[in-house]
């Protein structure tokens, strides 16, 4: 029987949640025994290659590309899990949500006290994904099946969540594993 396939991605995140996956330490070998990785930073595939059982989403959506990737995951994964506070609540990137995008870019590239930008130019190359007016949590963009908060979620919580999904067992994280910091 084919192993379950897992795809992972970091959208508007810092890869900290992926670091927490790596923090499974020696259990990462056990994980590699029981699942196959599809698109993920582990193999650097640019697109999902075939139907996946589980997609782990780190980060919310701050730009157009994030939305495209998130929709690709939703189309190709049976179960989608928001991994970490940025995916579940917006997180640090959403700090800009209380000001307009224009004001945010002006502060970052023109008006900020430590900015040196003599041309007063805000990056606008066509290669740069277009920023959204607001940063959205993943479930504000597509349907998300499970949420695993934390900054980052503890490795133990990730381990238990993956096991619970693969074995179709209910999971209560409980004290110390359900956390937002």
């Amino acid at each position: 029987m084919a192993k379950p396939r897992i795809a992972t991605t970091s959208l508007a995140g810092c890869f900290g949640c992926h670091m927490s996956i790596l923090d499974l330490d020696e259990r990462i070998l056990e994980l590699a025994e029981i699942v196959d990785f599809d698109r993920s930073p582990i193999d650097d595939l640019k697109h999902i290659s075939q139907r996946c059982d589980v997609g782990l989403i780190e980060g919310g959506c701050c730009n157009e590309e994030n939305v495209h990737v998130l929709r690709e995951f939703r189309r190709n994964c049976d179960v989608l899990v928001s991994l970490g506070d940025c995916a579940t609540m917006g997180g640090i990137p959403a700090l800009r949500n209380t000001v307009s995008l224009d004001a945010c870019l002006r502060e970052a590239y023109i008006d900020g006290p430590t900015v040196h930008n003599p041309l007063r130019r805000i990056p606008d190359d066509a290669e740069i994904p277009l920023l959204l007016e607001k940063v959205y949590s993943a479930h504000e963009v597509v349907r998300i099946d499970y949420h695993l908060p934390g900054c980052p979620p503890p490795p133990e919580a990730i381990w238990r969540a993956i096991h619970a999904i693969l074995t179709k067992a209910p999971l209560t994280l409980g004290h110390g594993l359900l956390k937002y910091d």
Partner: protein, 248 residues
């Protein structure tokens, strides 16, 4: 009790049931107080021992004799049947907490109060992994003008604990509400700036804040992760540990 004489010839002790368990109560107690005395914890945010009840946060909702009410303001009555941990009650509480989480701007990952925050601890205890509601991201003001105290209104849940504590514990009347509905906010009794008030970092108004909205400066992250109040034990565990042996 101003109406004590009316009840003078009625017995002061009575019995209620909470989730099927008989609990002794005293006339004049609220449901929340009677539950607390019996080692039954009811979640709360605006209630604080010693302060006049506010009844505003609604997190302490219970079903009493078939009707939803705030247990911090509803007095006990003989034979009252209270539902505290039924799925219906828990679901209502979850919805209230999830609304609070999106109504302000809550960033637990860098908040100094994280691990000591009652809103966060309640969300953990109720098993909330994300809010079902879309985030509002309101524009809120921070006042860091005072040398020792700051207000971050992004985190304020309008529980009024600071308003009541400053008035009744500290005798200062530093904090008040202004505005209505979505515009309601905490203001200070001065030119508008915290620096011009008589607030001090030792005021109990700071200590009672359930979230990270009113903070003493230069405390920062002084307790390491793992040793903070709600790292050690979930919120409410103290009340439940104190439950009388025979009734567990």
């Amino acid at each position: 009790m101003s109406n004590a004489s009316v009840h003078a010839n009625r017995p002061s002790s009575l019995t209620i049931t909470i989730d099927g368990r008989e609990v002794n109560a005293v006339r004049g107690q609220t449901i929340l107080e009677a539950a607390e005395a019996a080692g039954v914890w009811i979640p709360r945010l605006c209630h604080f021992p010693g302060l006049e009840e506010f009844g505003g946060c609604r997190v302490c909702v219970v079903v009493a004799n078939g009707r939803s009410c705030a247990s911090c303001t509803q007095p006990v009555a003989p034979g009252m049947v209270v539902e505290n941990e039924t799925e219906q009650v828990l679901e209502t509480r979850r919805a209230i907490i999830e609304m609070l989480l999106v109504e302000g701007n809550h960033f637990c990952m860098f908040c100094e109060k994280s691990g000591r925050c009652e809103l966060q601890a309640l969300a953990y205890r109720l098993g909330i992994t994300a809010s079902r509601f879309d985030a509002l991201w309101p524009k809120r003001e921070v006042d860091a003008s005072h040398p020792d105290v700051l207000i971050d209104r992004n985190r304020c849940i309008l529980c009024s604990r600071c308003v009541r504590a400053s008035r009744d514990f500290d005798g200062k009347h530093v904090f008040h509400f202004a505005g209505r509905g979505a515009h309601k906010r905490i203001v200070v009794n001065s030119s508008g700036s915290l620096a011009d008030t008589s607030v001090a970092s030792a005021d109990r108004a700071l200590e009672v804040c359930p979230v990270g909205s009113i903070l003493p400066k230069r405390r920062g992250y002084d307790v390491p992760v793992g040793a903070r109040t709600f790292d050690v034990a979930p919120i409410g565990a103290g009340t439940e540990r104190a439950r009388p042996e025979e009734s567990r």
